[in-house]
Symmetry: C2
Subunit: 158 residues, 2 copies
DNA sequence: TATTGTTATACTCTATAACTATA
DNA sequence: TATAGTTATAGAGTATAACAATA
């Protein structure tokens, strides 16, 4: 006869906890997937101390040479003052340059440095691996399906 | 003849910006959906100053009367010290009680107060509306599909 | 020895408001 | 007047390390 479960005061494992209505909420699943994503991104093999947010900023700067900070703010849904902090960070690490913009002396023209370009190349490989881990047991049809459904929740692109 | 587009220094709209490979990444779409979700949650009609995270904590405490803080930490993937802050916050607002646990004098037994239970009832209605807004243009089949695919990314429940 | 809750501390990410230089 | 960048400041949200009480 196996020992009876103690009725109280034993530490509960995750699966012994009642999550109420949470698992039924798409919003909750989205949140949890995002947490898993972030941890895997930060701690994957060969972690390079760049968050998903910073990675996005580097990609956008590379794809839009001489982008203004205000435009970057709009693209990332960040406040202009937040972009200052972000670019300070990337400039301190030698990944991004603030240059003088040509036709508007108020603006900065953002560019990746040589180091920034090199790091981004590595990061892109890392992100590709990260996506593969995340979607390891997905068929291609499932991947595309998830993709389209997420775009439908947040229809900014396409 | 329409005026030609100025080649430089004009403010770019979101859709004029090149997002590089970002829109092809499931991780990016997940992140953006999460940002949209959070903003809608916080700013929906009749906003009640509770984040998705706090809502989750309230639901879990209600569903597990006399839960210990350590178990809550495990359930939410938060550090024990972070749970102290979270419960301090909810206790200050009169939504949660720390009671003495029965068989372990180290532990607290967490309970919703009457006010906490009442607020959670309102929040649940609000979250249901939030989910409806978020998935307004989804068919039921699409909703279920998104749901299952997200669970597959983060397979903690089920 | 190990676990529970706590404190002290710090770091990241973000925003608001007010300022300056420039348009 | 309006916009671009900046500064000062503040508030979430989170973690690590060390500690006392208890198991």
């Amino acid at each position: 006869m196996p020992p009876t479960q103690a009725p109280t005061s034993k530490a509960k494992t995750r699966s012994e906890i009642n999550y109420g209505l949470l698992p039924e909420l798409v919003g909750y699943q989205l949140r949890m997937a995002q947490i898993a994503l972030f941890r895997d991104f930060a701690q994957g093999p060969g972690e390079l101390d760049v968050t998903p947010g910073l990675f996005g900023v580097l990609v956008i700067i590379e794809a839009n040479p001489d982008l203004k900070q205000s435009d970057l703010a709009r693209a990332t849904h960040l406040d202009r003052s937040t972009v200052v902090t972000v670019i300070d960070n990337l400039e301190r690490r030698g990944l991004v340059d603030r240059r003088a913009a040509l036709h508007d002396r108020r603006s900065n023209a953002l560019r990746l440095t040589t180091e920034g370009t090199a790091l981004l190349r590595k990061l892109k490989r890392q992100v590709t691996q990260h996506e593969k881990r995340l979607l390891g047991n997905f068929s291609e049809a499932e991947r595309q399906s998830l993709f389209k459904l997420l775009q439908k929740v947040f229809p900014e692109h396409r």
